[in-house]
C-alpha cells in the first residue's frame, strides 16, 4: 500500500522536490499537489522577462499538465489549502475538499511585503510575485501612464524596467541612498543608477513613503517630506515574507519562516518543508539555487534513502535587466581586516571589486563585465587559497574565451554564433533549450543540447549563458558536486572513503557509499576502477569492463571502429631497425595511414580490431612496448636535439628524457600525462606546456608543472630548480604520485594545480623531504605492477575474447 504524499504549494521548490523524488523511483507515493494559482508550475524568476515582453507565460511553464499526468500526480490548481489538520493528518482546501496525507511537503513560498501606509489597499497597488501580478501590471500599462515602484532592490528594478519597456513613465522610490544595497557597494550602485537613468528610469532616493493618495484607485504617492508624485500604478517591491500563516495556525513551530532541520523536516516529523517559506539555521532564502539544494535533500529523505543533509547555501545574484551586467556575491563591503581589490574603467563602464581575507574571497561585485562571476563565486564557495594567482585574479580566468571567441562578451553574440565547436551548437539553441526545457545546471544543458559535453572548452561560455538566462537560479557550483547520477558523493568523498575505510573492490565502495545503481554507470565505473588501482596497486584486480574501450582494447578507437596503434619510442629516439620493423608491420597488415604524432611517435591508423594481437606480437618481437597513446596514462616524453648535436644544448637532456620515460611508462593516471625535456631555455621540446617539463640549464634543471597545450593552453608553473638527474627523477615521481593520489579522475594537472594551489604542492614536494621520498617510493611500488606490457600479454593470448568476433554466416 503506497503512502499519500501531499504537496502544498505548486511552485518551483515543491515541484523540484518531486522531480528529485522521481529520480529515486516513480512509485513511492500517491502524490497530490495543491496550488492556489490556476497555473501548473512555472519559473517565477522569469516573471521579469514576461513583464518586459521578452517572454510569454507559456515560455516560462516548467511542468506542463501532461507532466503531472504522466507521473500519476493529482493536481489541484486554483484552490489553495486553508487548513492543515495534524490530528487527522489531512489538509482542507478553500472549496472544502479534504486530502489525507501520510507525509506532507510544505512549499508555500512567500508573500510580497506591503508597507502598511494609508491607502495601501487602493486599487492599482500590487506586489510583484506571480503571473496574476504581471497580468495586472500589463493591463495597467495599456490604460495608464505613470507607475511608481517602491523598492530599489533586485525585484523592484526588474519590475521598473519591465514597466518602462511597456511604455510607462516609471519612478523608482528607494528608502536608502544605495540601490540594491544588499547586493551592491556604493560605486557599483551609482554606476547601476546611471545606466538605468540613461535607459529612462527616474529615481527618488532616500524617500520615505507616507501615504498612497487617490479615491478608489491610486493616483499618487505622498512622501514623509510632504512632496508628491503622480502614480496610476504602485508596485510594492520592498521585500518578501515567508508565507507561514497556514502553518502557524496548524501549530507547526515557526520563527521568521517554518523552522526545519538539516533533513528539511519541521518539528512535526511527518511534515517536510522546502523553499522560501523555510527557515534553516536562522536563514531564509529568496533565491532559487538554495531551494534546489533543499529539494534534493528533502527528496532523498522522502525516498527513505536518508543519506544527505542540507547545510545551508552561499548565494549570488544577477540582475535580469537586458543590457546591464551585474553580479554580486558574499560580503562585498570590506570590514576591518579585509582587503579590497578594485578594478574600475569608467570608459568601458566596468567595475570589479573583490573582498579578500586571508587570501580567500569573501565577496564580489561586478558591474559591466560579469563573465568571471561564476569563477569568483566558485573560488569563494570552495574557499580556494588565491595566493598563487593574486596578481592576475582581477583580470579573470583567461581560459573563458578559448573556444575561439577571444574575449567577446557572450551575451552580445548573435543567436547564430557557434558556442560549442565540437558539436556545432549555436547560442540560440542553447538559450532556447534553457528557457523551453527549464534547464538549470550545466549537466542539464549538456544532456539536452550536447554543448560543452565533448572537449569542454566552451564550458565557461555555456555557464555564462546559463547564468544570464536563468539569472540567480543558476546552480553554478553546488557546494558538493556528486560524482555522477549514481551517488550523492563527490570525488573527494569517494577518494577519502577508499583510503580511510580501506575499501578495496568496486562493490565494497558502492555498498559503503550507498550507490543508487547496482553496477554504476559509464562515468563512475572508470573513476572507481582508477581510484582503487591507484590506492591499492598490490592488491586491486583491474576491471576491464570498467575501462573505456581504448584502455580495454589498448588502442584508440577511430570513428569507423578501427583502431590506431602507437608503439613506444623512449624519449622519441629510434633506430633504423625500429623504423624497419614498423614499416614491416604496416605492409603486412595493410595499414592505411601512418603519421608522426605531436609527442614524437609513429601512429598506425586503421588497424582492424581482430588484427591487434598479431600486430602487437610483431612489434613486441621487434622490442616495442605499448605507447599508451590510448589511455588516461603516462603518454610520452618529448625531447629536443640535445647536447650531442645542438650547439646550445646543456646537460644530457635526451638521455634524461629516456630515463624519465623508463621511470614513468605504463603508469595509469587520472587523465593523460605528458612530459618533455628541453636542453636549453630555447625550449624546443615545449616543456612549459606539459604536465611535467624539464628545462635544462648550465647549472642544473628547472622543473615545471601543470602545463597544457590542448583545450586550454596553460603555461606551466615553476616548481623548483634542482642540480642532479637523480633529483629530477625523484621530484618527477613524487609530483606524479601526488597527482595520482589526489586529483579527481579526468582532471588534468592544469586544473588540478589551480584547484589545490601550487603552494600546497610545493609544501609537500619541496619543503618536506620525507613526504617527497614517501611519494616517490609509492610511485615506484605501483610501477612494479604497472610496467607489464599489455600488448605482449595480449599477443600471448590474454583477453582473447575481446579481439575475436563470433561468426555465424558461412
Amino acid at each position: 500500500m503506497r503512502e499519500n504524499l501531499v504537496l502544498v504549494g505548486n511552485g518551483m521548490a515543491g515541484v523540484r522536490t518531486l522531480e528529485e523524488l522521481f529520480k529515486h523511483g516513480d512509485d513511492l507515493y500517491n502524490i497530490t499537489v495543491i496550488g492556489s494559482e490556476p497555473h501548473p508550475n512555472y519559473n517565477r524568476m522569469m516573471l521579469s522577462p514576461v513583464l518586459a515582453s521578452e517572454k510569454t507565460v507559456s515560455d516560462i511553464i516548467l511542468n506542463s499538465r501532461e507532466w503531472y499526468e504522466e507521473h500519476g500526480i493529482e493536481l489541484i490548481t486554483g484552490d489553495g489549502v486553508t487548513e492543515i489538520s495534524r490530528v487527522n493528518k489531512s489538509v482542507i482546501t478553500a472549496s472544502g475538499r479534504k486530502f489525507p496525507y501520510d507525509r506532507l511537503l510544505l512549499a508555500t513560498g512567500s508573500n510580497p511585503f506591503i508597507i502598511p501606509v494609508p491607502g495601501a489597499d487602493k486599487e492599482g497597488v500590487i506586489g510583484f510575485r506571480d503571473i496574476h501580478d504581471v497580468e495586472t501590471m500589463l493591463a495597467a500599462t495599456r490604460q495608464y501612464k505613470n507607475a511608481v515602484v517602491i523598492g530599489g532592490g533586485l525585484l523592484g528594478l526588474e519590475a521598473a524596467n519591465g514597466l518602462m519597456k511597456q511604455g510607462m513613465n516609471v519612478t523608482v522610490v528607494h528608502l536608502l541612498d544605495t540601490l540594491m544595497e544588499r547586493q551592491l557597494d556604493k560605486p557599483a550602485a551609482a554606476m547601476l543608477k546611471t545606466s538605468l537613468e540613461q535607459k529612462g528610469l527616474k529615481f527618488l532616493m532616500e524617500a520615505q513613503t507616507a501615504e498612497l493618495i487617490g479615491e478608489q484607485r491610486v493616483t499618487g504617492v505622498k512622501f514623509a517630506d510632504g512632496s508628491e508624485v503622480d502614480a496610476d500604478l504602485v508596485v510594492m517591491a520592498v521585500g518578501i515574507r515567508p508565507n507561514i500563516e497556514l502553518l502557524q495556525q496548524a501549530g507547526i513551530y515557526c520563527e521568521r519562516g517554518v523552522v526545519v532541520n538539516d533533513t528539511m523536516q519541521t518539528y512535526d516529523p511527518s511534515i517536510y518543508a522546502v523553499g522560501e517559506c523555510v527557515q534553516h539555521r536562522k536563514q531564509c532564502y529568496g533565491l532559487v539555487a538554495p531551494l534546489f539544494e533543499q529539494a534534493r535533500v528533502a527528496a532523498n529523505h522522502l525516498a527513505q534513502v536518508g543519506s544527505t543533509r542540507y547545510e545551508g547555501s552561499v548565494t549570488s545574484t544577477k540582475l535580469k535587466v537586458t543590457g546591464i551586467d551585474l553580479f554580486s556575491a558574499g560580503n562585498f563591503n570590506e570590514e576591518e581586516g579585509d582587503e579590497a581589490m578594485v578594478l574600475q574603467d569608467p570608459a568601458s563602464g566596468t567595475y570589479k571589486k573583490l573582498v579578500i581575507r586571508d587570501n580567500k574571497i569573501k565577496g564580489a561585485v561586478l558591474f559591466g563585465d560579469t563573465m568571471d562571476g561564476t569563477w569568483y563565486f566558485q573560488l569563494m564557495r570552495e574557499g580556494t587559497n588565491i595566493a598563487d594567482f593574486r596578481r592576475t585574479i582581477m583580470f579573470g580566468q583567461h581560459d573563458l574565451g578559448d573556444a575561439g571567441h577571444g574575449d567577446a562578451q557572450v551575451l552580445a553574440l548573435p543567436d547564430s554564433a557557434e558556442i560549442c565547436g565540437c558539436n556545432g551548437v549555436c547560442k540560440g539553441e542553447i538559450v532556447n533549450a534553457i528557457s523551453k526545457q527549464g534547464l538549470f545546471t550545466l549537466e542539464d544543458v549538456r544532456a539536452h543540447t550536447k554543448a560543452s559535453s565533448s572537449c569542454g572548452s566552451c564550458t565557461g561560455l555555456v555557464e555564462a549563458l546559463l547564468a544570464s538566462t536563468v539569472g540567480e537560479g543558476y546552480d553554478e557550483a553546488p557546494s558538493k558536486k556528486p560524482m555522477c547520477g549514481c551517488t550523492e558523493h563527490s570525488h573527494d568523498d569517494v577518494i577519502r572513503a577508499i583510503k580511510q575505510q580501506k575499501l578495496k573492490t568496486m562493490p565494497d565502495v558502492r555498498e559503503f557509499m550507498e550507490w543508487k545503481t547496482p553496477d554504476g554507470c559509464a562515468a563512475c565505473r572508470p573513476a572507481l576502477n582508477y581510484y582503487l588501482l591507484a590506492n591499492w596497486p598490490e592488491e586491486y584486480q583491474d576491471d576491464a569492463q570498467s575501462r573505456f574501450i581504448n584502455e580495454r582494447a589498448h588502442g584508440n578507437i577511430q570513428k569507423d571502429g578501427t583502431y590506431s596503434v602507437v608503439p613506444r619510442m623512449f624519449g622519441g629516439l629510434c633506430t633504423a631497425n625500429d623504423l624497419r620493423a614498423i614499416a614491416d608491420v604496416s605492409d603486412k597488415y595493410k595499414v592505411p595511414e601512418m603519421k608522426v604524432t605531436g609527442g614524437q611517435r609513429i601512429d598506425l591508423f586503421g588497424v582492424q580490431k581482430e588484427d591487434l594481437p598479431a600486430v602487437w606480437k610483431d612489434l613486441s618481437d621487434a622490442g616495442f612496448v605499448s605507447g599508451h597513446a590510448y589511455g588516461k596514462a603516462m603518454r610520452t616524453v618529448k625531447t629536443c636535439a640535445g647536447k650531442t648535436w645542438c650547439r646550445f644544448g646543456t646537460q644530457n637532456s635526451t638521455g634524461l628524457g629516456v630515463k624519465l620515460e623508463e621511470l614513468t611508462w605504463g603508469s595509469w593516471m587520472p587523465h593523460k600525462f605528458k612530459l618533455a625535456v628541453s636542453g636549453c631555455p630555447r625550449n624546443c621540446a615545449e616543456a612549459t606546456i606539459k604536465d611535467f617539463g624539464v628545462v635544462c640549464v648550465d647549472s642544473g634543471y628547472e622543473l615545471h608543472v601543470g602545463g597544457n597545450g590542448g583545450i586550454k593552453v596553460r603555461v606551466t608553473d615553476l616548481l623548483c630548480k634542482v642540480e642532479t638527474e637523480q633529483q629530477v627523477l625523484e621530484y618527477c615521481g613524487a609530483f606524479i604520485q601526488k597527482y595520482r593520489e589526489e586529483a579527481h579522475y579526468l582532471e588534468r594537472t592544469a586544473p588540478w594545480v589551480e584547484r589545490v594551489g601550487l603552494s600546497t604542492i610545493k609544501e609537500c614536494i619541496l619543503d618536506d623531504e620525507e613526504a617527497r621520498k614517501a611519494l616517490y617510493d609509492r610511485f615506484k611500488l605501483s610501477q612494479k605492477y604497472a610496467q607489464i606490457d599489455p600488448w605482449k600479454a595480449r599477443a600471448e593470448g590474454e583477453a582473447a575474447h575481446e579481439f575475436t568476433p563470433l561468426k555465424i554466416a558461412g
Binding site: 544532456a447 539536452h448 550536447k450 559535453s453 565533448s454 545503481t517 547496482p518 553496477d519 554504476g520 554507470c521 559509464a522 565505473r525 572508470p526 576491464a544 569492463q545 570498467s546 573505456f548 574501450i549 580495454r552 582494447a553 578507437i557 570513428k559 571502429g561 575474447h801 568476433p805 563470433l806 561468426k807 555465424i808 554466416a809 558461412g810
Partner: protein
C-alpha cells in the same frame, strides 16, 4: 549458411557462444554478412542482442561500457537500453534488437529478422 538461408529459418534458434565466453558487463560481436550484432551480458547474466550501431552516429555499441541493462556508446556517450534498443535520457533514436535466449549455459540467437522496438 547464408543470411538468406538463416532468414528462411525464422523462428529457429542459432547456437552462438557459451554464456561464460561473454564477460559479465561485457559483450561479444557477431559478424554476419550484412550486419554486426552486439551480444551483451549483464551483471545478472541476462543476455541481449542489438545491432552494433548507435542510432546517433553508428558507433559500435559492443565497445561501450555496460551498466544495469543499458550500454553507453563509446563515441559520444549516448545511453542505449539493451532490451528495447532505444536511446535513454533526452536523446532520441532506436537501434534494432534481436531475440536471444540462454539454455544450458549456451546463448542462442533467434530469427535475424530485425525486430524494431
Amino acid at each position: 549458411m547464408t543470411m538468406n538461408a538463416l532468414a528462411q529459418e525464422a523462428g529457429n534458434w542459432i547456437e552462438i557462444v557459451a554464456l561464460e565466453d561473454i564477460p559479465q558487463l561485457g559483450s561479444r560481436v557477431i559478424k554476419t554478412d550484412t550486419v554486426d550484432i552486439a551480444l551483451f551480458r549483464t551483471a545478472l547474466d541476462e543476455v541481449f542482442a542489438i545491432k552494433d550501431a548507435c542510432p546517433h552516429k553508428q558507433g559500435p555499441l559492443s565497445q561501450g561500457i555496460v551498466h544495469g541493462t543499458s550500454v553507453t556508446c563509446p563515441l559520444h556517450n549516448w545511453k542505449i537500453d539493451l532490451a528495447s534498443g532505444e536511446a535513454l535520457g533526452p536523446d532520441e533514436g532506436c537501434t534494432n534488437v534481436y531475440p536471444v535466449k540462454v539454455e544450458n549455459g549456451m546463448v542462442y540467437l533467434g530469427s535475424l529478422e530485425a525486430r524494431a522496438a
